[in-house]
Symmetry: C2
Subunit: 140 residues, 2 copies
DNA sequence: TTGCGTGCAAAGGTTTTGCATGGCA
DNA sequence: TGCCATGCAAAACCTTTGCACGCAA
């Protein structure tokens, strides 16, 4: 969104490339740090956070606060033109995260907006519950 | 849920009473600490957290992680028999929290369960977005 | 040269944990 | 007496910030 006087740096390029090569994938800041540290191209933690902040404000990356006590997750979404925003389902038992691409939810959003006056933001909304596999294991 | 060998202590009684007297109210751990500190009946921070953990596992209290960077909120829900479980709507702009009592959502839950295999847990699911007042102020 | 970006280390805030003591049953 | 609960302080954790230096333009 905002394009100021911003420099191209090794760190910026590498971070963006790494995220862009892994769309629909969630990374924590620690994940990213570790990736570059292991690859011998270390990027400082503060820089990771500052670059992520920049990419978020540009709209290229989304930030999700998924679980209590868990660190935030970052996901590359590019220009956001190709993919509609999707919701997340998080299994409370196994911790797995699912992407929900569903037409039905549009109807539900409209209902909430029109009847309850509330405009839902998919980027921060996470449905918690039990995934199919865990339900079967628990016989629910 | 789990009833082990647990003692009745001043701290346990006072914390439970305080929460039960304020149903449908969200407290942070710091709120609770401050309440008792100000009342001259101090309860240590660690004890607050440990008692909350106990009440949560008993099902008397729910924990919500509402905002990124914000501390967790705790809410008394009693035995959960009198009130149907409700969802929460949290406004990202003004921070206000709303309770959503809505029949439509039942339909949506069923869809998610049947078509996507995921069983939603209302107690931990929070919808983020913009409330009616904030939408009007922003002209959205 | 200008000023944004980087990295380190330190600070910030919330929650957890170790350990000795205290209190219920 | 036996065991759980408490409280303090320290640790753990994630994220932000201050500051001097580095580097893009």
């Amino acid at each position: 969104m905002a394009e100021k006087n911003q420099y191209k740096t090794r760190q910026h390029e590498q971070l963006l490339s790494y995220l862009a090569e892994n769309p629909r994938t969630h990374f924590t800041a620690a994940d990213i740090c570790e990736h570059f540290r292991a690859g011998g191209q270390k990027i400082g933690t503060a820089t990771i956070y500052r670059q992520l902040e920049r990419l978020i404000s540009e709209g290229q990356v989304k930030k999700y606060q998924l679980g209590e006590g868990e660190s935030a997750c970052f996901e590359y979404v590019g220009d956001g033109i190709q993919d509609p925003l999707c919701y997340h389902l998080k299994c409370e038992r196994c911790g797995m995260l699912f992407h929900l691409q569903c037409g039905e939810i549009t109807e539900f959003e409209r209902h909430i907006t029109e009847e309850h006056g509330f405009l839902i933001d998919p980027r921060r909304t996470v449905f918690y519950g039990l995934c199919e596999a865990c339900r079967k294991e628990q016989g629910i």
